[in-house]
Subunit: 327 residues, 2 copies
């Protein structure tokens, strides 16, 4: 029931995913059954079921109170399916804050992880990068950012197939003594603890630096990520307004269409799908609020990969190994 | 001597500015005289003079120590011209950190201003916006951000001609209780003190919100600004690579050239020039490191406007009025 295009897009995405992998997936649509039935009609595939969740989470609900105030919402009921092992993973395009807070309460943290974090997968022509954290933790300490680096590296290497990911720290200068005290301390800590830490990465190099994992606090990560997304829209809109001024522009745009499409495909989060909450004791994928059918389908495939690779268990092991080495 | 294209671009920009306004400007080129002479040849206009500054500031110099370690650098000598009232304003495309630290030591703060801040002028099709702070203060308190809002509003209204600028606070959610404690406290303070405060602005709405002044700490502002600038370059580069693949793409791009040019012009900081350090007891314009001739010329015109409008004096009055109302 979550996301800008709910529930039709979530349903269509689920349909597409199961039709592509009919033998590998069993999906449960969590939401108001009568509304879902209106969308699916009578042709519900045998590997898709419905879990009735009549309550709706709205923007006026306090994220941290949803478990108590909306026990019959799709967020609570879906996450409880994972808790009770009736499902392996939960996927939502609903309010990120609401899903995060409720997932933390229902599934809990992986042992040893202080703060679960949200990673965003950013496609670039040099391969995908992970920005972490992008909004779960507006306030952090250096040790939290160290854990973000470890968890995001593990995810990028084992779920996305990036060999030996390099870690960079977002900062306002390249030298170790740049930035706020928090970032100076974090630079020190990452330098000491991580062999694949390559130092600070400035805003201007976020897309082009060698770093595969870009670590930051959730305030900076969220602002940069949302700004980047809007930037593409603002430009597309401005181009399409200007094109209308002259026939030659329109012809030019038509000839260039494959160029724009290829560019769009390269940077399109739809192509990738959502990303998991890292450090959570279970798989919970946060999909973009404006996810389309393809993004939902790909989010389901990301979830499948996380389950197969035992993301939660292996995050626990990675953190444990790290903590053991510490002693 | 500062900036990526020094000194040729600074010299050419100065030449253009004086040729456009020959009766209104007297410029001093501050730098190594023999190098400057090589560029200007024998045709130095009568309203351009040279101030010899043989030392060069490098990236290994500590910004806060340049006044002592490089007294003969163009940054120190140029700012001293302003201090001794031999010049009305100083313009540099050199290291922002070095210019800021040295300007603060030589010119000092406007009385009542706790922290001078750097504003960035962002052209949009709804008119220019100011982001403040974009790098002078990686660590701030709510009261500092309140002063950034007041100073940036004054600048935007009186130097850029924006009537009754609206103020927004960059944050990771629209509600007052969103973001870190710092931003929650700042939201409260701005709501209490500023009648033109319109609330939080998320990353996705930075370019499209109603706010003309966007307030943030220097870490967030610097990261977002630099990222935005790189984003345009990354896209331009990717488009130009793809265009080469097919003749029809090349033809399309040629037909669309006026569209791209108009877009570029709209968002080009070259068109605007640098921005002053706000709250400084004198006019010091920070131009972009990669400034071209046009940007230097326009930075000179921004400086002229700041001098004519008595920016430092009026910032002092605005802050005084505000502090008086407080009591």
């Amino acid at each position: 029931m979550g996301g800008d295009n709910a529930p039709s897009v979530a349903i269509a995405g689920a349909m597409e995913a199961t039709s592509q992998l009919p033998n590998d997936l069993n999906l449960t649509l969590v939401g108001d059954e009568s509304i879902i039935r209106q969308h699916v009609g009578t042709n519900l595939p045998t590997n898709i079921s419905i879990c009735h969740a009549p309550e709706t989470v709205t923007s006026s609900d306090q994220a941290s109170r949803i478990l108590k105030s909306k026990p019959e919402s799709s967020i609570v009921k879906g996450l409880k399916l994972v808790e009770s092992q009736k499902a392996d993973a939960f996927i939502s395009a609903g309010s990120t804050g609401a899903v995060m807070a409720t997932a933390l309460l229902i599934l809990g943290r992986v042992q040893g992880v202080r703060r679960p974090a949200l990673g965003a997968y950013i496609p670039t022509n040099m391969g995908g990068k992970i920005f972490c954290d992008v909004g779960a933790n507006p306030e952090v300490k250096p040790f939290h950012m160290l854990q973000f680096a470890i968890m995001a590296s593990y995810y990028l290497e084992h779920i996305e197939g990036c060999n030996n990911p390099k870690i960079g720290l977002i900062n306002i200068g390249e030298e170790p003594n740049k930035g706020s005290e928090l970032y100076q301390e974090t630079h020190k800590l990452l330098s000491q603890k991580l062999s694949n830490f390559i130092g600070n990465v400035e805003g201007r190099h976020l897309l082009t630096s060698e770093a595969n994992v870009l670590v930051c606090d959730g305030f900076v990560g969220n602002t940069v990520l949302k700004f980047a997304e809007s930037w593409v829209n603002v430009f597309s809109k401005e181009i399409s307004i200007r094109i209308k001024e002259k026939t030659s522009y329109k012809i030019g745009a038509t000839l260039m269409k494959p160029v724009f499409n290829s560019l769009k495909k390269n940077y399109d989060y739809e192509e990738h799908g959502g990303t998991p909450l890292l450090g959570l004791n279970g798989v919970c994928i946060i999909a973009h609020g404006s996810s389309g059918i393809k993004s939902i389908k790909n989010s389901i495939f990301v979830a499948k990969k996380c389950v197969e690779e035992k993301l939660a268990l292996n995050t626990k092991r990675t953190i444990e190994t790290f903590l053991a080495e510490e002693k």
